[in-house]
């Protein structure tokens, strides 16, 4: 990072810093402005003092094209934030598009936008998972409408699988949320996963913040129950619902075992018509199995409910439990503690994702890296050395 940014971030004055290195503040300003280049001894001192954040490259290499936003951009985005607060759906929708975009410029705009948003402590973020067809969208429709009747504003982020081969997607969840999708107190946004489940999930947590800024106080995140996205989504919601079909056994359900262990609420959906009895048996099975599952929340145990999303059965009981869950955890403070921990996790997740992205889309295509790998293939070089050299290049990467 540039020295100027470093000093700003850690709030160190030029005078103090120059003293520590043992140079005049005038020389420091010249280094910062690029008018002069620091010599080797000074560079080493700066490197040490900044914990490696500012190194020689930051002085010698010209900086990558600036991701700084123009003032016009900033003004636009500030206006956007105001509009979002006023509840303008168009701006909210556009904000989510910025967040989800793969363009660097959009990401910079999104970052700026996010920096203008407040932290919202009153919202409830609800994760919902289950295999395709279990009835997640239908459940959200029924449940969401009853919440709106209670005065809530409900938002839904639905993560749809994109077809891997073509990259395109069909997003049809709204057809199963007919009432909700036309209600003025609801906002539904299906997002294509682009085959990158982790990546979308990162964007999801940012989208949640946009929704909260717009005044939505109950936010559903619908995922497909195949495993990858769920763990990530688990780490961005306050309560995690798993929907199951009335039929025994996890294997039959096609849902990953680990996912059921994360559940705060297990819902046996479609407990109606001729599936009613099977549903009851399934409920008992899970109630029994639950004793064996270690509790992840320290202050409340998961519960199992029967539900029919199409016939609106069991909805009130589920809501009562969710309210109880929320109250206990808010009162004890664990609700907020979890959110703080989630932020830390988010940092590491983002770093992990970015490195992964860098490796997949950048590093692998570098000529030097390709050459090293060729050498290894020809037995001219050993694997350990090769990995070490390539990894070092990541640490030093500046572009």
């Amino acid at each position: 990072m540039k020295l100027k940014s470093y000093l700003k971030l850690f709030q160190i004055s030029n005078i103090n810093f120059s003293k520590e290195i043992g140079i005049s503040s005038v020389s420091l300003s010249r280094y910062i402005s690029g008018e002069r280049l620091p010599e080797k001894r000074i560079l080493n001192k700066i490197f040490k003092l900044t914990d490696g954040l500012v190194d020689a490259n930051d002085f010698f290499l010209s900086s990558s094209p600036s991701q700084d936003l123009s003032e016009i951009d900033k003004e636009e985005i500030k206006k956007m934030v105001l509009n979002i607060r006023e509840g303008k759906l168009k701006d909210l929708a556009k904000a989510i598009t910025l967040v989800e975009s793969s363009l660097k410029l959009h990401n910079a705009q999104a970052d700026f936008l996010l920096s203008k948003l407040k932290q919202n402590k009153n919202s409830l973020r609800v994760g919902i998972t289950g295999v395709p067809g279990v009835g997640k969208s239908t459940f959200i429709e029924t449940f969401g409408m009853s919440l709106i009747d209670l005065g809530f504003k409900v938002a839904v982020l639905a993560i749809d699988p994109s077809s891997k081969r073509t990259g395109g997607s069909i997003l049809g969840d709204k057809t199963r949320m007919m009432k909700l999708s036309v209600n003025k107190n609801a906002f539904i946004r299906p997002s294509p996963s682009q085959g990158n489940l982790g990546g979308v999930a990162k964007k999801t947590s940012e989208s949640i913040r946009c929704l909260e800024e717009a005044g939505f106080n109950i936010i559903f995140i619908e995922t497909m129950g195949v495993g990858q996205a769920e763990t990530t989504v688990y780490d961005m919601v306050d309560i995690f619902l798993v929907l199951l079909l009335p039929s025994g056994g996890d294997e039959l359900q096609g849902i990953k075992k680990g996912i059921i262990e994360m559940a705060d609420v297990i819902i046996i959906n479609k407990a109606d018509g001729n599936l009613k009895n099977t549903a009851e048996i399934t409920m008992l099975e899970y109630k029994n199995a639950q004793n064996m599952i270690s509790n992840i929340r320290e202050d409340i145990s998961p519960e199992v409910f029967l539900c029919s999303s199409t016939e609106s059965i069991g909805i009130t009981k589920i809501w009562n439990f969710i309210k109880k869950f929320e109250k206990i955890r808010r009162d004890s403070g664990s609700f907020y503690k979890t959110r703080i921990q989630q932020q830390t996790k988010a940092i590491w997740r983002n770093i992990f994702l970015q490195s992964q992205d860098y490796i997949e889309n950048n590093l692998k295509y570098k000529d030097s890296v390709k050459k090293i790998i060729k050498d290894v293939e020809k037995n001219n070089f050993d694997v350990n050395n090769a990995s070490k050299i390539i990894f070092d290049s990541i640490l030093k990467r500046n572009t």
Partner: protein, 706 residues
């Protein structure tokens, strides 16, 4: 000569003619998956699995009557209806003077869906795609001067079947025709509505109960009336191949038998009054074979319910030539297509027939196009001598062989349905609809890559534009007239009385009273179609279809002739510029339930790499705009086929504008007369894609547009 030797000789001769090609290469695999050989012989006749028999006797493969057309040709029954009851009445009378032998009423979509003309959700639908019927008063006008005791009337009504049939019966009685004298058919086939036709109102369970109410009532009180027309027609039009059409229709029929039996009816009380309805497309021999296979299979199916009367086993059918086979481009070709299809229907032994007009892909027929359509049948019937011989195709090596193949293939599909527990269950699971959409996507992929020829569309395209006069309906005017007539009715009737009838309907709906019976009285007392429907709706609820989609079928079938690469290339440029894939919301607004095109566009575009949002059926323009804004679609793709575009598209544009969202582009597709293009472009629509659009070419255009 010895037969074996004979065929050996043919094979050698054929191989010589083919030179280096193989005989096997000339086998044709039909869309149904049936392998058709270049030559059929006596040997194939030995292998057939169905019985041929004689006409008029079980298993009725050769026809439900012993004499067939030699005694009386099929009934020329043209499906028609538009604008107001008065206008349609005039049209019917004109037809009857010119060779039409039976009426067939096409209702508008508002009526189909149980809304009176003054309902806010139907501003774009009144009188457009059929005739508007709000009450018995309209019925009286519709049949004014047409004696119902002499005229057989077929009515395509399924969703609002109770109030409409009730108004018809009541109107007959006001005209002086007692109900037992009424002849004709009510479609009353709700299962295929959930699958392909989309004019359902109530959820499946109460809907099936209504079907049974009607079967029960008509079997007791209207002995000459067909209580149901079990329809494959709409399946083929929605994309089903012939085997699917046959199998799913017969499976529907089985389901109706079961629910009538559950009512406590005896099989012989109602089975003879079940009728069928097929679509007849361009695969000439396949269609003939399908009709024969159907009769054979149905007799076997009904047999299992142990009827005593043989008439219960006989399948009688109406046919309509296929509308989907008709094209907007080079439209006069459609006359030829219809003729070929009509021939197949006749060779297949239909009891009545509708022939489509050549302007089918443009609008409702004009007087002129309707006349040619009618004459097509008259010419076949009166100029060719075809009527003099019964089932002329019987014994044909090919046709009998094909008949057997169809029997076998459809039996497989029926077994699959039986395994999941019958058609109601299968429909709930979405199995048949999915299969049909797959066939539809495959068909489009074959046409888009020129593997299937459509003359004038993907081959031998005309170089000059043809001007064709089309019928255009002033929907606003019709609606005003209907609304004022409704107003008058409402002012003149006894309000208390109406209330008490609506209350009775509610009670019948929540108990087990016969809904048809009570609604006949209600219509006589001037309850409207919409009011009667609402009364039932308050008990049953209104059904929403959950839209399922398929993916991959289009891409797997289409041949890459370079267009796919262009699209890939354009898409990656797009993503690099915009940070995401092009996102299109496909919408269906108003009561237009034609979803084949919309579903196809959605699945094909997503296969090609778009992110596609698909809206529910029956959206209002405001709802569509809200969804597009929330999803931040780049473009809204309006699919419109029922002539609502001139009302709905302006409302959509306005709604986008009111939400400061005019940055979202709008394109339209479907049945839109070329004369309306300028109107749409003036509104700000970016592009209109008519019938016959090549999807890949459209995709390229749309990416460029964005």
């Amino acid at each position: 000569m010895d037969r074996k030797k004979l065929y050996k000789g043919w094979e050698e001769q054929a191989s010589r003619e083919l030179r280096d090609k193989n005989l096997e290469d000339h086998f044709w695999e039909t869309p149904e998956g049936i392998k058709v050989k270049p030559l059929y012989t006596e040997d194939d006749l030995q292998k057939i699995s169905h019985e041929i028999g004689v006409p008029g006797l079980p298993p009725y493969t050769r026809g439900p009557r012993a004499t067939m057309y030699t005694n009386r040709p099929w009934t020329i029954r043209q499906y028609a209806g538009f604008s107001t009851a008065e206008e349609s009445n005039k049209f019917y009378k004109e037809g009857l003077k010119n060779g039409v032998m039976g009426l067939s009423v096409a209702f508008d979509l508002a009526t189909h869906r149980g809304y009176d003309s003054d309902h806010p959700r139907v501003v774009a639908d009144v009188g457009n795609a059929g005739v508007a019927i709000d009450s018995i008063e309209d019925m009286n006008l519709l049949f004014d001067g047409i004696p119902l005791d002499q005229m057989s009337v077929s009515m395509t009504m399924n969703g609002a079947v109770i109030p409409v049939l009730a108004s018809f019966i009541a109107s007959g009685e006001e005209q002086g025709c007692p109900r037992e004298k009424l002849t004709g058919t009510i479609q009353n086939d709700i299962l295929k509505e959930f699958m392909v036709r989309n004019t359902f109102i109530f959820p499946p369970k109460p809907s099936m109960r209504i079907v049974a109410d009607i079967i029960e009532y008509t079997s007791k009180k209207m002995p000459k009336f067909n209580s149901i027309s079990i329809s494959g027609y709409h399946m083929q039009e929605a994309g089903a191949n012939q085997v699917q059409e046959l199998a799913y229709t017969l499976a529907d029929g089985k389901e109706y038998i079961k629910s009538a039996l559950e009512r406590g009816l005896n099989i012989d009380e109602f089975a003879p009054r079940l009728s069928f309805f097929w679509s007849i497309g361009m695969n000439f021999f396949m269609e003939i074979a399908k009709m024969r296979a159907a009769r054979y299979m149905w007799s076997k199916i009904v047999k299992e319910f142990k009827p005593k009367n043989d008439r219960s086993l006989a399948l009688r059918t109406h046919c309509q030539t296929s509308g989907v086979s008709l094209m907007e481009q080079d439209a006069y070709n459609n006359i030829v297509r219809t003729t070929i299809e009509a021939m197949a229907a006749v060779m297949g032994g239909t009891q009545s027939l509708h022939t489509n007009s050549f302007d089918e892909a443009l609008a409702l027929p004009t007087k002129f196009s309707a006349r040619i359509a009618r004459n097509t049948q008259l010419i076949i019937s009166e100029e060719t001598g075809i009527c003099n011989v019964i089932d002329p195709m019987a014994g044909s090596f090919y046709v009998e062989s094909l008949t057997s193949s169809i029997v076998e293939e459809s039996q497989k599909l029926i077994n699959e349905i039986d395994e999941v527990g019958g058609m109601v269950k299968a429909i709930e699971m979405g199995i048949p609809k999915m299969r049909i959409e797959e066939s539809s996507a495959k068909r489009q992929a074959r046409v888009d890559s020129n593997e299937e020829t459509i003359v004038g569309v993907n081959k031998y395209k005309p170089t000059e534009k043809q001007e064709i006069n089309i019928l255009s309906i002033d929907n606003e005017e019709v609606r005003k007239r209907q609304v004022s007539r409704l107003q008058k009715l409402k002012n003149s009737r006894d309000k208390k009385n109406v209330e008490s009838f609506l209350e009775k309907i509610k009670n019948a709906a929540s108990s087990d009273g016969n809904l048809l019976e009570i609604c006949i009285e209600a219509s006589k007392n001037r309850c409207t179609v919409g009011e009667m429907t609402s009364a039932m709706e308050s008990v049953f609820g209104r059904h929403n279809l959950s839209t399922k989609t398929i993916s991959g079928v289009y891409k797997n079938t289409v041949k890459n002739d370079g267009k796919i690469d262009i699209i890939d290339n354009e898409l990656s440029k797009f993503v690099n510029k915009k940070g995401r894939r092009p996102r299109m919301l496909v919408v269906k607004m108003g009561q237009d339930g034609h979803d084949r095109g919309a579903k196809l566009i959605a699945t094909a575009f997503s296969d090609l790499g778009f992110d596609v949002d698909i809206g529910p059926l029956f959206q209002t323009p405001e709802e569509a705009a809200k969804q597009a804004i929330e999803n931040d679609a780049h473009v809204i793709g309006v699919s419109t086929l029922a002539a609502g575009h001139k009302t709905l598209v302006p409302l959509l544009m306005e709604s986008l504008k009111n939400n400061e969202a005019s940055y979202i582009k709008v394109i339209c597709g479907g049945v839109i007369p070329p004369d309306d293009y300028p109107f749409l472009y003036d509104l700000g629509v970016s592009k209109v894609f008519g019938p016959g659009t090549n999807i890949q070419e459209a995709a390229i255009e749309i990416i460029n547009l964005l």
